[in-house]
Symmetry: C2
Subunit: 362 residues, 2 copies
DNA sequence: GCAAGTCATGACATCGGTGTCATGACATCG
DNA sequence: CGATGTCATGACACCGATGTCATGACTTGC
């Protein structure tokens, strides 16, 4: 590969002049510049970041780690892949500042994290992002104190800057919107109880009811997911059974995520119930390929992965620029996604509701 | 950040000795080694790849480009994201050889490709992979002649090494398996006709029928996808209408992908047809979150993204090792995924078939 | 007991750029 | 017209590793 000296010789100038043409950091006569540019093109010269890095001490690199990292192995064994949207959004945000992303995946083994971090440090990355596959608590060791680090879709106990979805607010908004549509008995089929998202969303569910002055009925909230296809299916059937045979059954079922909603569609139909005429369904995640494709399309809450990735990149860049001091919040940044209203939820206007109630009371 | 000289001074040795400890490329007395290692740990020294790269000319980096690249804009406007599984498999394959992956996404703009390649070259990547979001023809310009380059999930006309799914064989195997299950009238709802995958899969559909000595009936193959939610939905309804009102309607519907199969489930149910008792359904892709979650679980063909990514990494590494000569195939490497048999297809044993035919003939 | 060989280590140049400072040509001004 | 300033450019050191070669201490063999 041609070097800057080859170019200098071909153009009949010094290496430093070529450098000036490359960086435009000092005036160069037009004629000279053109000779240099011609030589660059002719030789196919591409400057070496490595050599450049040695003087400037700025690599222009950001390290991104994906995959399992948490020490706690009692989490549900997911596939270990963060949504690509997060990765892509991070990459875009970083690229817009002229830096390049190096990516590494732990492949599900948290003991891979240390060597990956080491490799990144050897490449003198100027910052690190860890992106988790679902909202969780993690523990990232081994990063030098004060090194720019941001967690995306996860958080730790050390106060590392982190960006996570606002699960509480998301579920709150969804329930609020369901209430506005006239629903009063809102069933909730939850994911695993130990999941951070489940805890927060359940809080959001309750706070929305509280605000509307509706009593929380524990019978309406049922665990409906375990990490086993066979048993999970049975659990979901039973959960729906339990809800639908309540004296006052729900008029809408909120599901832990869109995949669960998809299975709920099938189960309800097997029971002869039409969605949404007989019962409404809502999901969570706005997993587009599911939510838009299901019939009827699914009302759900967007898990704002693109925004989380973008914010993570943004925050990391600002850490790199201004140092770790800033206004150290110590609290994760919450990003809420909007409620996506589609046809799986029936609007029961409050007026109809009143009429019904009136009739029943007679 | 500490340098090798800082370590040398702290350990009371020369820089070269520290280098020997780091690389274990020459014997060092145990006592000396321990002093050096202690100094390294104390100073938190991490060797600089940049400096190392200057002498060795080996960066240990591979560039991965994702997102839109094709010059032809008449392709369906997909979201432009390759499945993360491809990215992850590539990353794993590369990492296993001790190299690191740099990733960049075009964000849907093919004019972004040139600057991305330039950046990668500046970082002296030792090879490039381009991973497409769906099986397609692409045109990658600007890479120096002879530079190690592999295309994943796409191919070009220049004979660049590429790894693509064997769509023809996949559909062939699926139809063959359906025939073995006793189906004779096999409907096929296709994706856009201009898509490479559609063309190949249609060939596979026909070749499987040919092998079984069953005449191809064009009325059974219907275009059922356009890139518009509203119109697409109507198109799919009409397509199913057309198939089901044939004098001899199909007993199974093959769908262009799993997402289409999901919509087909809904449409069939709206028509009062049970899957699979009244009609069987098969998909393509093995998009697990759909195929496993649908009720009943979907028979489909795996799109072997993990294998494609792994093979792409493998092939690139071998190009880097042994140079571009090799046995230049000039033909894309085809990777076939298995048929995943689930409950959405009813087995109509040939015996039952014979009985029916016998009875009808009486 | 001395030449030859092995072992552990160090001095120094080098990779490809950029920062610092110097220099020569020319324009400007009193 | 000579002093001064500006502009374009070049010489040279340096960033942090590693390759080459040299060197001194010690072992081995006859």
């Amino acid at each position: 590969m041609a070097t800057i000296y080859d170019v200098a010789r071909a153009a009949g100038v010094s290496a430093k002049t070529v450098s000036r043409v490359l960086n435009s950091d000092a005036p160069v006569k037009t004629a000279t510049r053109e000779r240099v540019e011609a030589a660059i093109a002719a030789l196919g010269f591409v400057p070496s970041t490595a050599a450049r890095m040695m003087r400037s001490n700025r690599s222009g690199l950001i390290g991104l780690i994906t995959g399992a990292i948490s020490q706690t192995t009692d989490q549900p064994a997911s596939h270990g892949l963060p949504d690509l949207v997060i990765v892509q959004a991070i990459q875009r945000g970083i690229a817009s500042s002229g830096m390049t992303v190096m990516i590494a995946d732990t492949g599900g083994q948290s003991d891979q994290v240390a060597p990956l971090v080491q490799t990144f440090l050897e490449h003198r990355v100027q910052g690190l992002i860890y992106a988790a596959d679902f909202h969780q608590r993690v523990a990232l060791p081994l990063v030098p104190k004060g090194f720019p680090l941001v967690l995306a879709n996860c958080f730790d106990d050390a106060g590392t800057p982190s960006i996570v979805p606002d699960d509480r607010r998301g579920q709150h908004m969804l329930v609020e919107r369901l209430l506005r549509a006239g629903h009063r008995r809102i069933g909730y089929l939850t994911l695993g109880r130990q999941m951070v998202a489940t805890q927060l969303r359940t809080e959001g569910y309750r706070s929305a009811l509280d605000e509307a002055g509706i009593a929380y009925d524990p019978a309406l909230v049922v665990l409906a997911y375990i990490d086993d296809a066979k048993l999970g299916s049975k659990l979901l059937w039973d959960a729906i059974d339990r809800l639908m045979s309540l004296p006052e059954p729900p008029t809408v079922l909120c599901c832990g995520n869109d995949a669960m909603a998809m299975r709920v569609y099938g189960i309800l139909r097997s029971r002869g119930l039409r969605v949404p005429q007989d019962i409404s369904v809502a999901g969570f995640d706005d997993h587009r390929i599911i939510a838009e494709t299901l019939y009827p399309p699914l009302t759900t809450v967007e898990l704002p992965y693109a925004a989380i990735g973008a914010r993570a990149a943004e925050q990391l860049l600002s850490l790199i620029e201004s140092g770790p001091d800033r206004n150290a919040d110590r609290m994760p940044t919450l990003v809420a996604g909007p409620v996506i209203w589609r046809e799986s939820v029936l609007s029961r206007t409050p007026i109809v509701e009143f009429q019904n109630q009136g009739r029943e009371r007679l």
